[in-house]
Point group: C2
Chain length 182, copies 2
C-alpha cells in the first residue's frame, strides 16, 4: 500500500523547515509531499494531472520535485477537500489572484469567495450538529433497553413496550433502528 505517515501539526514552523525535505536543495519528492500533508502518492500525482500542483522540475529518471510553496498549497487543498469542496472549485480559487488587474480588485473577489465558503462550512457544521444531536437522543432512548428482560416483546413488538411509549417525542433514528412503525 502506498501511504504516508505522520499527521502534520499546523504549528512548529521553526524546525519543520529543517525536517521538511530530506534533499539539500530544499526540494521535495512526491513521497515528501504525501508524508508532510498526510495524503498519498496517488493524490499528489492526481492533483498534478488535475492542474493543481506543479513540480518545478523532474529528475533525469522522471522523479517529480516540488518547491515548499507547493507543499503549502497541497496542505490547503487537503483542508478544503476535507471541508467538502470539489476540486474544480478549489482549482479555480487558487487561480483567482491572477485573474485580476489590481490588488484591490483581486482582494475584493477573493474575500467575497472566502465569505461564501465560510458560510457554506457553517451550514455543513450545522447539519452535522443536528444529526449528531439526533443520534445522541436516540442513544438515550435505546440505552433504557439495556435492562430489558422481556422475551415476549423483544424482536417484533418493541413498539408496545412501555419504555418506548413513555416518551412522546421519539427521535426518528430511534424509531428506525428499533423497528417501531409509524
Amino acid at each position: 500500500v502506498e501511504r504516508s505517515g505522520l499527521p502534520h501539526p499546523d504549528s512548529d514552523r521553526a524546525d519543520s523547515v529543517q525536517r521538511e525535505g530530506r534533499r539539500r536543495d530544499g526540494l521535495l519528492t512526491t513521497g515528501d509531499m504525501a508524508r508532510l500533508s498526510s495524503s498519498t502518492l496517488r493524490t499528489v500525482r492526481f492533483y498534478e494531472e488535475a492542474g493543481i500542483l506543479h513540480p518545478v522540475q523532474r529528475t533525469e529518471g522522471g522523479h517529480r520535485l516540488f518547491p515548499q510553496a507547493e507543499l503549502d498549497k497541497l496542505r490547503l487543498v487537503g483542508d478544503l477537500r476535507a471541508a467538502g469542496f470539489p476540486l474544480d472549485e478549489i482549482r479555480d480559487m487558487l487561480a483567482m489572484k491572477t485573474r485580476f488587474a489590481s490588488g484591490a480588485e483581486a482582494s475584493r473577489e477573493v474575500v467575497e469567495r472566502l465569505s461564501m465558503q465560510i458560510d457554506e462550512m457553517s451550514d455543513r457544521i450545522a447539519v452535522l450538529q443536528r444529526v449528531r444531536h439526533q443520534l445522541e437522543r436516540a442513544r438515550v432512548c435505546l440505552r433504557d433497553c439495556t435492562d430489558c428482560r422481556d422475551e415476549e416483546l423483544f424482536p417484533n413488538s418493541c413498539a408496545e413496550c412501555t419504555a418506548m411509549t413513555g416518551d412522546a417525542e421519539l427521535p426518528n433514528a430511534a424509531r428506525v433502528l428499533w423497528n417501531l412503525g409509524r
Copy 2:
C-alpha cells in the same frame, strides 16, 4: 431532470400524516419518497438495489410502493450520508437489531455503535471548525489589500508588502492564495 422539491422539516408530525402520500392506502410512490426526503428518484432506486429500502409491493405496471416506515428509514439514511458515513456501514447498522437474541444485548451493541458514530461526527465537526477558522483568518489578512493602490508590487511581489510582513503569523490559506512563498 428527475428531482424532488421541498425540504422536509423534522418537526410537524401531525399534519404530515395527512400530506405524506397522496394515495388513500397510505403507501408512498418512489416520487413521494424522493420529495418527502429531499432526495431523488435515482437515489431511492439505488438504495433499493443496495438492499437498504424495500418496497412492500409493486403495482401491475411495476411501480414501487413503500410503507411510511421506509420513508423514516430513507430520512435517517439521508442524514447519515450527509454526516459522511458510507452506505455499507449504514446498511449494517439498520440490520443490527435483528442480529441479537435479546433486547439487552441488541441495545448494548446499538448504543455502542451510536457512541462511535457520535465521536466520529465530533471529530469531523472539529476539522470543519478548524478549517473554517483558518479561512476566517485568511479573510482578515487579505481584506487589508482592498485598499491596495500599489501598481509595482501587486501581482508578484506582495510578499515584500508591509501589509503582509507586518503580521508574523500569516495563516497558510493566505500565503497560498496570495502567492507569498515560504
